[in-house]
Subunit: 347 residues, 2 copies
């Protein structure tokens, strides 16, 4: 990505994911699995979807695939933004015989979709050596992202060899693997330890983890950017409180129902609108400042991806709250019940 | 819209449509028709879609509707961008019992959709008095947009009373009314006259008309902004030639298939990809500079809305061509065959 694009990104910005990396890496695109599926299904159309940071690899992957596939197979690349396994290009999926989603692990079992997680080949041991120095006791939770899941057992063993008691958990249905976290789900960190070690790229996930579990110390060991630090949610929390305060005087509320397959919370959106005659239900897929600027509202509640609310919040022209924050702003709940918004289940 | 949003708009920018008006007007939202449809269909969910410039009226229209509708009817507003009757929010349409599309005339008959064209109440006579002074002969074509279609017969009569021979035509299936133009279709101006009078808001439509019919003089009588002038396509044409020239050295081509219901040209997109091994098919709904920046291509061909290519072209990081311009850039056609890209038929 170009310099000018990164300039105005706040810490934890959705675009600062582990996928947008300083160091180039060779990924395993698992083309054999794709070719096999095409042959099995006699597929004529193959759709490929990449997360933002990997879209530029799309043409090269398409080239490699076209060499391996039967003549006449059409390969299409999704140009829709993509920020997670929750964010499938359903248009392309429904119109192709084989649909490949790169960069995330499955959120839901599906015959139609091939998930290629793109495991990282980065060595995690050097950063773990440094990171464990920040730990305070020998009880530690361990989490990582889909990209480093291939090293999860090695991480656990490495810690156990050094006499740590490692606490791990699978989390709920939204998570494929034990120890996996998503930007919107940290159920795998609901473990009996006061500290959690996150080994993986970027700050996006550990900052969400620290917001969801404010009682735990979250140590970041980032082997991609070679960074060790303790997650600090101060800036985030200040922004959240500021947004809630601003929204307290709002009269007209725009309530966003996100139409992305894995980001919709219909009941929640409806409940708000039913109980507030000054609330309006707005449906959309991408929730962006540009799209909302045309609406004459005093504040918004986003029932879609919570990370758009918490991370991109300051970029919107009016306060943008999570459903829980909305309840505080309209006086249904006390301010001290402010908590991080997470997503559970599949779709 | 705010000042900072309009600052970087080039002339003819998609967002400079007749819908984005300096003078506020009272529109007829035809709420009775909507209420009737809700009652007839026993509708539980009503979806409302507004073009960009009218989105801010959405909440007020929803309020008025909710007063008239049976208790418990859910009103939803589309937050998707909308730039024409070609640009239906199909997600919301499929999930509501009554779907109302404001600001455009029907592109295709549909039981499901209620089109509310929002006719303008502006008086067209004063601007016509001024505009006819720019006409050179007594033979004149007459065109307008959906917003001023309610005055079309009055315009014709006014001209005929002044001894003009008025040439009008219905155009093709994409156009609902005789004399109607769209940003992408000027078949109603295929008439036997060397000059065409456009009476309507904005320059977006007459500039397209002048590009599509370079042999005709296009006189603009804009009663909304009180402007009379002759359409000048020089700046547009220079940009088009510059883009084609830049794209001549391109190796990797991104070929965009637009997934919007009324903007898809599948055969055209496929043909390009089949005949160029360095072309990659990219599918997307909104075609924006941000979305394409992540793709590592030398140039793009847009088989979707031609006005994104011609009007927003300079905002993309790489040359963006129409399918016809692509043929010139890769050497299949001579440069002097450069022509405006139009859309025909429905979907």
């Amino acid at each position: 990505m170009s310099q000018d694009q990164t300039a105005d990104r706040t810490e934890g910005d959705l675009r600062n994911t582990g996928m947008s990396l300083r160091h180039d890496r060779t990924w395993d695109y698992e083309l054999d699995r794709i070719v096999e599926a095409v042959e099995e299904r006699d597929a004529e159309k193959v759709g490929l979807q990449f997360p933002e940071g990997l879209k530029r690899r799309g043409p090269a992957v398409a080239d490699d695939l076209r060499e391996l596939l039967p003549d006449g197979t059409r390969v299409m690349i999704s140009g829709q933004p993509c920020y997670g396994a929750c964010d499938l290009d359903t248009y392309l999926m429904r119109r192709t015989d084989v649909f490949v989603h790169f960069g995330h692990s499955p959120m839901k079992d599906s015959e139609k979709i091939i998930y290629v997680p793109l495991f990282s080949n980065v060595d995690v041991v050097p950063i773990m050596e440094e990171a464990v120095e920040k730990l305070e006791t020998s009880d530690v939770g361990l989490v990582t992202t889909a990209q480093h899941m291939n090293k999860f057992e090695a991480m656990r063993e490495w810690l156990e060899e050094r006499d740590f008691t490692v606490h791990t958990r699978r989390g709920d249905d939204r998570l494929t693997h034990e120890g996996q976290v998503l930007g919107c789900n940290y159920a795998s960190a609901d473990i009996d330890a006061d500290q959690v070690l996150y080994v993986g790229g970027g700050k996006f996930h550990p900052l969400g983890l620290a917001m969801e579990h404010p009682d735990k110390k979250v140590v970041i060991g980032d082997p991609v950017n070679n960074v060790v630090e303790v997650a600090d949610t101060d800036q985030f929390l200040k922004q959240r409180y500021a947004s809630v305060h601003k929204a307290m005087s709002a009269e007209k509320w725009g309530v966003i129902f996100c139409t992305k397959i894995g980001q919709g919370r219909w009941e929640q959106a409806n409940e708000i609108v039913e109980n507030n005659e000054n609330a309006y239900l707005i449906t959309m897929d991408e929730v962006t400042p540009d799209r909302l600027r045309n609406f004459d509202m005093d504040a918004f509640v986003n029932t879609g991806c919570p990370r758009i609310t918490t991370d991109d919040g300051p970029r919107f022209h009016k306060p943008m709250l999570t459903p829980g924050e909305y309840e505080i702003a309209v006086g249904n709940k006390p301010l001290d019940e402010l908590s991080f918004d997470t997503f559970h289940g599949t779709w």
